[in-house]
Symmetry: C3
Subunit: 405 residues, 3 copies
């Protein structure tokens, strides 16, 4: 009845990875509610259905082709995989799926309020099933070939990204940019050359989304260790201090604006993913502070100067801040700044740049083809009516809409 | 200071079961918010108070009599149980309580908007304290007597229900049917022989409830292993794929209706409980797809054709889909369909039928007596006013109701 | 590749403490939403920003000075601490931070709707960084000196507070009392000597906050064991039965009022923290019942008789109920009432009294100085406008406020 040490270790390991997967599953509810609160009331249902559908499509394609591409492991001809080591490879699939599914969830926030439903589902399938897994394969799993091998040979260190500042967040954020650009701004957003900010529907739902994301993030980062034997309190506390740094930077610079403050926490968390295993907590704090500043000023710059209507600011939040996270790992990960070393700033910059290049190219291709063929944008009538009634035939408050309240 | 292997295994085991219990405790918040969003605004507070009170009553009766009935373990004359093995039996009580407490929580959604408060509390106590534990005892714990022994002897396999598709969900769903029937439809729902659908108050709260349930479900299914040594990644991934199958089936057939989509995920999860340890993930996907279809078409059929006013559709969702889950376990659990075998389709059908029979009889008896004695339905005046003001003397938005906003 | 037993135990230990920390981090979202629902709509954003900012400030000061004060461990000149034992000391910092950060979160609910933002941030820094850590040091960590040594010598047992009924909750609740008193009641609350209750904005958000707190509480109490080797199912089930006792007491005495019911659950949980490792579950139930009664009658007494405008009732909820929890530990922890013994009722009363004394003195000093210098209250114009627009320049529903919906 008593287990052997190997058995207990194997079982605990599966529990560890699984807890991470479930915590990141919860983060997808966070993505949904963050978008619900950030868009107008007439597009809230669309946010909810989009995120859950994208999650479902991602699960399927990552099971069928994504995980096999990324890690060379499939679940068809190897039935023993289903039970070997308590199904470890299955929970690893679950865990890395939750990363892949972040890609469409990130994009979703940028293209909100005017994108068509099914074309976006198609793009989600391509990104979560093919493009991201291919990128992931070379950056995380097959590092003895391609860019990583070259960086190792040239700069003495591979590109380091512990929990995906670059490989997940910046990749998703930079994928969103061409999509947002090809879609164009929401109706009336920049009418007559002037900026007309569109207010969010609900700070309460926005903040709920942010909290769910922040709490789940500790699964994202801590369980990126991949095995209970690598669990690290340093990763957890660095995540915490970066979150706090991002929050406080936003509190001060935005003068306690609730939207910036709750996204500032996320900016800190995005920035710390890459180097959370290497930095001193004070380095993590600094990384988070810069992340928060990037979001506050970046969001405003993108919306007001560049006039790019990235609704939730996913390009500055995930894209630019994620890129910063990759670079910050090369700065505060170095031993002279209290880090644990073994990382090259140049390699970090090159890796971060590679993600930008692949994302911009892939997104332009996919959304370009979609735009040229089936179309990616709602008609003006549909957009005016709102995606909820136009697509889903139901709004967020049916009782009110039917005049019964 | 270092623990022995036995000590570490025992402690990890308690942690494992406890994490499951806490995740399912959270699901009860999910039940509450799913109902909040699905009912009219004037009955939201009632949903909240009902679920928390039912939970509390269930906790008490399952501690005092339910767990002793089900597993033959009580906590009175055996003080050493409180600390033996880090209190393992106590956390097992907690874990199985969370299942028992699902019974009134499921029923609650069917009888919403017109049931009296205290009679429902009484019914909750009977179901969670006596009826469900008795059923649970013979189906899960004392399988060497009664139906399970007979099935084993006759069909070579007992009725298999890993995490309660039948024993919990279908049992609850079929218990709800006579209650809904005896209560009758909400005022005006089928006036003049015609169907007048009553719109939900809030898709946002409905979807929050669904997300909380879905995330917590991974505790429901995974920790049903009962011990860390039995943890199975297959259970987790099967749950995931069934959830996704149910969601996508609802996305397609309901044309992205938010209510169906978010309940479709739950339908998939309900359907997979029974066979999540036996199926291949693609079998789980198929099981979930059928679950989603059952909910979409079943809900419409029940509401529009049968004219049974099951407000949240708990009979099709938990009842029929749960029954399907028991049967699906006999289909996709078989080795010829990629499952791990050891299961009999006939035994699964008989077990699923037994749950229906016991539930229908028990519910008719309990609600029949309640209806004939104290009454189970609000007066028309109370129902018109709403359960919130009629029972709880306070609505969901007091500031607005008092005219201060 | 296989870990040694020591390695596995160390890693599991870090996971255990970390899970607790993350669960209590989530509780801070619960504090935020409980306050959101309890205040008027014009002060909801303020509640959200206040809690997240207070959390961030607490994190920082507890890292820099609080944890070093409390436990004598800092993270500057001892770099090996960052990785020793998988970063155990870092996750211990995270875990005890979540307790320290409860202090300003508790106070926040009492002073809601009329306090200035930055003075409260300053008070949060003092309490979480200096006052609470100093108190914590002598009550929990350096028990061979001071009050604890004296109690041990005099009464044969130190003051016992397993998870902080007194050291965290009552300390926070009694700190709030002078703050509430010095602030004075909200405008119009007691106009012309009469009580004019101010209705809450949203029972839905209030109940969401309560649920998040209740679920997270199982991390608060269970992980207070401090190490996986001390995990105790008794602690979990005692927490559960106290929660249920508090809920049911409130259901009955408040006649199912939703505000009291959802706070009653919390009252039970607050009351059980101290003795959750010592009581029999029925003792825990009784402790929770009394906790629920204290809240229902205490809240009404404070608001209506004492005319103290403690908005969320944090003094009766955390303060008085926490004090009761310390005393209850001395009653139901004794062996003659089914407890495990080793506790002195007199020592419990003295310890509970010490928390009151330190809290009242510290709070009077800090808020007294703040009031006399920078001021702690919004101007009447700001208060009338609401803290959201006055401080954060944005309300909870921007789209509505801008007249676009």
């Amino acid at each position: 009845m008593d287990p052997t040490l190997q058995e207990l270790a194997a079982a605990t390991n599966v529990l560890f990875v699984l807890l991470g997967a479930v915590m990141i599953l919860a983060m997808h509810a966070g993505f949904a509610f963050l978008e619900v609160g950030s868009v107008r009331a007439k597009n809230q249902v669309n946010a909810l259905v989009k995120i859950l559908t994208d999650w479902s499509i991602s699960t399927l394609v990552y099971f069928l082709v994504g995980f096999p591409i990324a890690q060379g492991i499939g679940f068809f001809d190897t039935a023993q995989l289903l039970t070997a080591n308590h199904g470890l490879q299955l929970v690893r699939y679950f865990f890395y799926l939750t990363f892949a599914a972040c890609i469409p969830a990130i994009i979703s926030g940028g293209i909100a309020e005017r994108a068509r439903f099914w074309p976006q589902c198609f793009a989600a399938a391509i990104f979560a099933g093919l493009l991201y897994p291919t990128f992931e394969r070379f950056m995380w799993w097959h590092t003895d070939t391609g860019l990583q091998a070259w960086l190792q040979a040239t700069y003495g260190a591979p590109f380091h990204d512990f929990a995906g500042s670059v490989i997940v967040h910046s990749f998703g954020g930079w994928l969103a940019l061409p999509a947002v650009f090809l879609l164009g701004p929401r109706m009336g957003r920049y009418a007559a050359g002037k900026s007309h900010p569109i207010p969010a529907s609900s700070i309460l739902w926005l903040s709920l989304g942010s909290w769910v994301l922040a709490v789940g993030w500790f699964g994202f980062n801590v369980m990126s260790a991949g095995a209970i034997g690598n669990v690290s309190g340093l990763v957890a506390v660095n995540s915490l201090l970066a979150m706090v740094g991002g929050t406080l930077a936003a509190v001060v610079t935005s003068k306690t604006d609730p939207g910036f403050v709750h996204n500032g926490a996320l900016a800190g968390l995005i920035a710390i993913c890459a180097g959370s295993d290497l930095m001193h907590p004070l380095g993590a704090l600094a990384t988070g502070v810069v992340g928060g500043l990037i979001f506050v000023y970046g969001y405003t710059f993108v919306q007001e100067r560049l006039k790019i209507d990235d609704v939730l600011g996913v390009w500055p939040l995930h894209g630019i801040t994620g890129t910063w996270g990759g670079i910050a790992c090369g700065i505060f990960g170095s031993q002279c700044l209290g880090g644990r070393g073994g990382v090259s700033l140049v390699a970090q910059c090159i890796g971060a740049g590679a993600a930008i290049a692949v994302a911009l190219a892939g997104s332009t291709l996919v959304y370009g083809i979609l735009k040229a063929t089936v179309g990616i944008r709602l008609t003006p009538e549909e957009e005016f009516k709102g995606a909820d009634l136009a697509i889903h035939k139901l709004g967020a408050e049916p009782e009110k809409e039917f005049g019964l309240r």
